[in-house]
Point group: C2
Chain length 407, copies 2
DNA sequence: TATATTATATTCTGCGAGAGAACAAAATCC
DNA sequence: GGATTTTGTTCTCTCGCAGAATATAATATA
């Protein structure tokens, strides 16, 4: 009998996580950033590097002022072990920060986030004055500058999360904000004196990234995040330990056409998913109109509460909306087959209200789902989009810690 | 004014193509395989390697019996240049081959393909005797063994292209073949004495790969292939110079749900795209039933011909089918926004019959398409699936030419 | 308390892959 | 025939890390 031949399809990189990219120092910094304080010995095994390499890389990181070494964390950690104790290594609490910004229609929010995804400070959402990007970015820049001063620590990056289709720091189109062709990164850079690198990402993509690293995505090899902040639905795809070719994938999941003979969508198509499965969709299913988005969010909460208390009309509306979501999820699974789907925002609420129904519908209507690999879960982070933006902003530093030298 | 800050989203690897992976020898072998004979000087610039590295790598490849060096190709090539002439390097015509197999419902086909994507020999499609995978694979193995003997050259890999959802050499589900959970690679390995590595891929993914490298995809950074061989529709996504996380993406584009209140699909859902937009869909739109697939293909050809001659009924059917295809394409663009979409098989015929209508519909219904990046084209290869399978089978050797040493 | 044991940190050597400079070779141009 | 140009070859250097050898700091045991 012949030896069992290799039987893998295409390129399967079994490299766990994003380990393989970046320098040794970058990998260790990333480990500390993602997983928190560890002993040197743990870092050695987790990184897969040789002890010698860990030694030099940690020396470099210490030199850069990014990490520090504490006492051997023995007594509390593992009370009875022998051998030379391994000192714990951790990120310096006065290390660099990033500033994360999230845009919605008519509002925005910003946060200062340190390495180690430590939320230092979240600013409460601010109402945008004008409808156009210029006025909005004036306000954003003001807040960013203020937060940066208040932080009193080096700011190594700024990231802006926005709904819509983004490429190379430009917002190409966002129905949601009603902006098109806005070079967000450069407009913001112009307003911020001596700005660090400014990166721009899609809100939903960043939410998926944050849930992948720090939330409900732990351990998944591929993850699809579906996010809805009342209006519109977006997605984010994670493969190979990071965003999947994010530069090119708008993942406008809300504009999947699920009913070509259905309602007209402002995007030009008819029957887009988000007309049926976002917050407005639920209100519409319940026969309610809405005045504005914030008003709508209250009504949605009320509807979900009524459903939880068994109100039949509310339950019917939730079920209808959930069915539409299931249809969208089935199509997405048939195309992408992620190991896990993480629902955030309104979609998480909707799923919690109707999980069995959605699971059943997805299983029934997706042949790929029936291979049993995809698990649907709800997100666990309070601010997935902000944390995702922080991750984006911290990316360059994690890849090459030497950037910290230029403060 | 502050210096213009970097403004790129996420991880943008500007590394052109797949250049960066593999050893120096692998990169050069890949270049020769993809682009054909070149001078050493060209190889140096194209690969980005230093002259010294090219020298040693080419020596290694010559040593392995994979390439050979001809006379300085001066007189014919660039008649009047000065300087030392650069000899041309090319793949040895007696170098290793791969065997590519394509499965359809009830039929299969195989080919011997040399490095440099030279089709040495295509076997005409064979009818499968039994309905089950065991009998089918007996037949496939017989043909592969025969082709391998006839080739008289080292066979470094076998690849099987199949419709359906594939992972790790296993066919997880294929409505099309009506097979589930078939470990194709190992079943085949068991039947072929002393088998080289056997890889399994999705037909549509491989077609996309082949069109990307050798067909209508030249130069595209991201490419989505859509393929239909009369029954069913599949897709393949190329990013970063190769299949995008192919292990995980079934890209069952035919099972996108485009009409939840529509026809029932054997997959369990209702209103799947392929019910409306594959060959059968066209026949149905024309009010025709079909006996079997081969019969149906003739009728499709007749319909398309009638449409070309202006027959109103045929034109109407084609237009209806094309509209459905456009709906599917819009959703795919909204999700993936590939730089290029390459249609192959029946979809290429359908597009040729109705290109303006499809383009117009896609522009109208996809907000992402209106950013103007995606171009829709038809494939140019006669055997995209076979060539894609050959590419898959050659992959390991291209990555590490030293594998040739084990013959 | 002294010694063995264990686990870890540090130092040193080596290696592999490729960059880049220096040099050699083979053509054309004048 | 010599200058010029382009390319191939050889040599040295560096980077980044692996792995072995050695040093260190704790616990376990006598």
């Amino acid at each position: 009998m012949p030896q069992p031949s290799e039987s893998h399809a295409a390129t399967i990189d079994q490299t766990s996580d994003q380990q393989r990219k970046g320098t040794a120092a970058g990998r260790l910094l990333t480990l500390l950033h993602r997983r928190g304080r560890m002993t040197r010995a743990q870092l050695t095994t987790e990184s897969g590097l040789a002890r010698s390499a860990v030694g030099t890389a940690l020396a470099e990181l210490t030199d850069l002022g990014l990490i520090q070494t504490g006492q051997a964390a023995r007594p509390s950690d593992t009370p009875m072990t022998r051998g030379r104790p391994s000192p714990e290594v951790f990120l310096r609490p006065d290390g660099p920060v990033v500033i994360a910004v999230q845009l919605w229609r008519g509002r925005f929010q910003a946060a200062v986030i340190g390495l180690g995804h430590v939320l230092e400070r979240v600013h409460t959402p601010v109402r945008l004055d004008g409808p156009g990007p210029q006025e909005a970015l004036d306000q954003v820049a003001d807040l960013v500058i203020r937060l940066r001063e208040q932080a009193g620590r080096a700011c190594v990056g700024i990231a802006v999360a926005t709904p819509g289709f983004v490429r190379d720091g430009r917002l190409l189109s966002s129905l949601h904000l009603a902006w098109t062709e806005v070079p967000l990164a450069s407009l913001l850079a112009r307003r911020i004196p001596d700005a660090p690198p400014i990166l721009v990402g899609r809100s939903s993509g960043l939410a998926a990234l944050a849930e992948f690293h720090y939330g409900a995505g732990a351990g998944a090899a591929t993850l699809l995040g579906l996010n809805c902040e009342h209006l519109g639905i977006g997605a984010g795809l994670i493969t190979g330990g990071g965003p999947a070719a994010d530069a090119g994938h708008p993942l406008e999941a809300g504009h999947m056409i699920v009913d070509p003979s259905g309602r007209a969508c402002p995007c030009g198509a008819t029957g887009c998913l988000e007309l049926y499965a976002d917050g407005r969709g639920l209100l519409r299913a319940a026969g309610l109109a809405e005045q504005d988005a914030l008003d709508g969010q209250d009504r949605v909460r009320a509807l979900l509460a009524a459903c939880a208390h068994g109100d039949p009309d509310a339950t019917r509306a939730v079920r209808t909306t959930a069915t539409h979501l299931a249809t969208g999820i089935s199509t997405l699974i048939n195309i992408l087959s992620p190991e896990r789907i993480v629902l955030t925002g309104f979609l998480a609420d909707l799923y919690r209200a109707s999980a069995d129904h959605i699971d059943r519908e997805v299983t029934r209507t997706s042949i790929v789902a029936r291979t049993g690999r995809t698990r649907i879960v709800t997100g666990t982070l309070a601010h997935p989009v902000l944390h995702g933006a922080a991750e984006l902003a911290a990316g360059p530093l994690l890849g090459d810690p030497a950037l910290a030298r230029r403060l």
